[in-house]
Subunit: 217 residues, 4 copies
């Protein structure tokens, strides 16, 4: 039963299986996912009770277990959503035409901007990985690795072409850069002076600068 609901995940905002009752006009499933995302980001997965989630979503526990198999399932869905979004966007930038440096720059700006726009997702992603069931964790990591490799291939392409320095492993560059991205959740505040895109441009600048071929002395 919950599995059926689970399958419907992709279309969750397509709306309208429920008429909206107490708590909002959005379908129950989406409300639950939204409430869970906010709470998991704020307090952590383990410190958030199912009771708090359903209260925040304005539904009953039974309703939650109608749409999701478990609290873990909720987390799993959030991971799936993040992975889907990020993969889609990277693909778009990596496959674009033009010189590799530009594509890396654009992808870097975008991933920062997207991360800032979905800061809750990002906080959850790196803080709650170890709460996933081993199997799920493996799947998430595999998907994440594909993402990493996609970006790394872009860097490696630049290195082969000579527009990026080649004396640092491309994998390490990616870990270096994405460390910065993933920690946005630790310090960035929406009410800060710098908009997400501005941060993205700075980060992308720093990345490209760090990759400039070392000047001869």
């Amino acid at each position: 039963m919950a599995r059926e609901g689970g399958r419907r995940a992709a279309g969750e905002e397509a709306g309208g299986t429920t008429r909206g009752r107490a708590g909002g006009d959005e379908p129950v499933r989406g409300r639950l996912l939204g409430a869970a995302t906010r709470l998991f980001a704020d307090r952590g997965f383990e410190s958030t009770s199912v009771q708090e989630i359903v209260a925040a979503a304005g539904v009953t526990k039974g309703a939650m277990y109608h749409y999701f198999d478990s609290k873990d399932d909720l987390l799993r869905e959030i991971y799936a959503r993040v992975l889907r979004l990020q993969t889609e966007r990277l693909d778009r930038f990596a496959d674009a035409p033009g010189p590799v440096a530009g594509r890396v720059y654009d992808a870097a700006v975008d991933v920062v901007a997207t991360t800032v726009e979905n800061l809750d997702d990002s906080k959850i992603f790196f803080r709650s990985m170890h709460q996933l069931a081993p199997e799920t964790r493996k799947a998430v990591r595999a998907e994440r690795r594909r993402y990493h490799e996609r970006f790394r291939d872009l860097v490696a392409e630049g290195q082969r072409e000579g527009v990026f320095r080649a004396d640092v492993p491309a994998d390490l560059v990616v870990d270096f850069f994405f460390g910065s991205v993933h920690h946005l959740g630790s310090w960035y505040h929406a009410d800060g002076a710098l908009p997400g895109v501005a941060v993205g441009r700075h980060f992308a600048d720093l990345l490209l600068a760090s990759l400039r071929p070392v000047p001869e002395t």
Copy 2:
């Protein structure tokens, strides 16, 4: 069983109140801190029970509550240990003589190497911040901010001297770099090919490269 941090913590009490019993020769307090560090890093703070900690340390619950006020107190001690260590080391490098670029480089290599050597501490630090009591969290953040500012001042010094580019805020540079450092816990494995210091040198290289003044066109 005994971790480096654990040994320090025990010493802090100015010597052996316990004669070591089942589970190791080290004083009880240190054993508890060591076991807690390992378990918090592996499973997270919330998913680790006091029972598991005392079992891993080979003591009883009563003994734990003799040395620590609460489970939170254990976490607080771990944070204090990390902050003390990192601040000490940064001070050493920042206060060293010589040109600013060299000091930044050395400090950067060191923080990476130290993080890699105490990877469990690092994992805990960024994953469990939100479990601290608000007051403690505030104190930890303040201390952390001082650390950040110390490093930022180094960068700003280089910018004023003209050896670092000045078109990117020094604060942002520090967040950029420490994001990379803090995420070492997400991918670095002790059994990997690259020793901690090597990673440190690559990271420091990238940092300095990203700070080189932008060439005139």
Copy 3:
């Protein structure tokens, strides 16, 4: 899927209200009763969820609540079915012509054979009695007592005629014998070497032997 009892139950409604859908060609009501019988016998009444029953029957919960008032109602129907069957059969043998010893023997063989053929019913009967609503339980017990008395009267008839020993209360003989019958569910396996009728003949032999008048010494 279809058990003998299930087929009878369906017929009771005087013919097919449902055209059979996913899961079998049999009417829904019978499928539900069959599935419930098997599951109650395997796992016990309390450990079987309505969800499991409807899944096994290939219908939805709503359908079940259309045909039955409650989960208890399902159990009540199973009891009614068993009682009807056993009473019918005993009546047939008790009312037959011929000497009382032969009638007791035949009835004894038959109840064993019938029990073995409907072992699930038997398992449920003695394991789940206490789950019935007090009122229903009272009714079931009353019906059961009538059955017991019918058999006891047969024994008493033999005692009066002098073909059975009279130094043991007829009621006790019946409890003695039916204990053996009711516990068939605890040890008899359909794949065992001995067919139900063979067990029945042995049991009937033992019963009649135990009733032989005590020889004078």
Copy 4:
């Protein structure tokens, strides 16, 4: 922790680890086992909540989980207690000197009397077997089988000696007789006219009578 308590099972009535608080003077562990036995017999294992058990024993849930691993563990202990008692007693009678018929008679009387004296245990034994974890169930069945075989060997001994008829398998005789014994819980009431030993003597009489060699005609 609960395991430690579990080991102490045998000495549970040796008394005095607790000073008796609300609810009685008996140690907590024994009170819990007593309350559970009564309730499981009355309402069945599944229909009895842990809350009801601890309320009846006058302790808190936490205390129960200090002594027992789970509700299942409680049931397991009850089974262990029954098996221990019955095996002990059968051994005593089977190993006694004298002719086999007398030993069978005495053992039969005793098992009925003992069953009647511990009717709750008996009700639980045959009603809740399927609630045991598969592993435990296997162990219980194995122990039970040894009991059955001990009794069967006694019957077989009599058949070899010619004092019992040999045309019915000894195993079947044992199943026949113990069926009667196990179903005492279904009809016997302590307030009934017949004391346990009297029922035992009647049952033993019936058993021996059913085993008399068939007279030649």
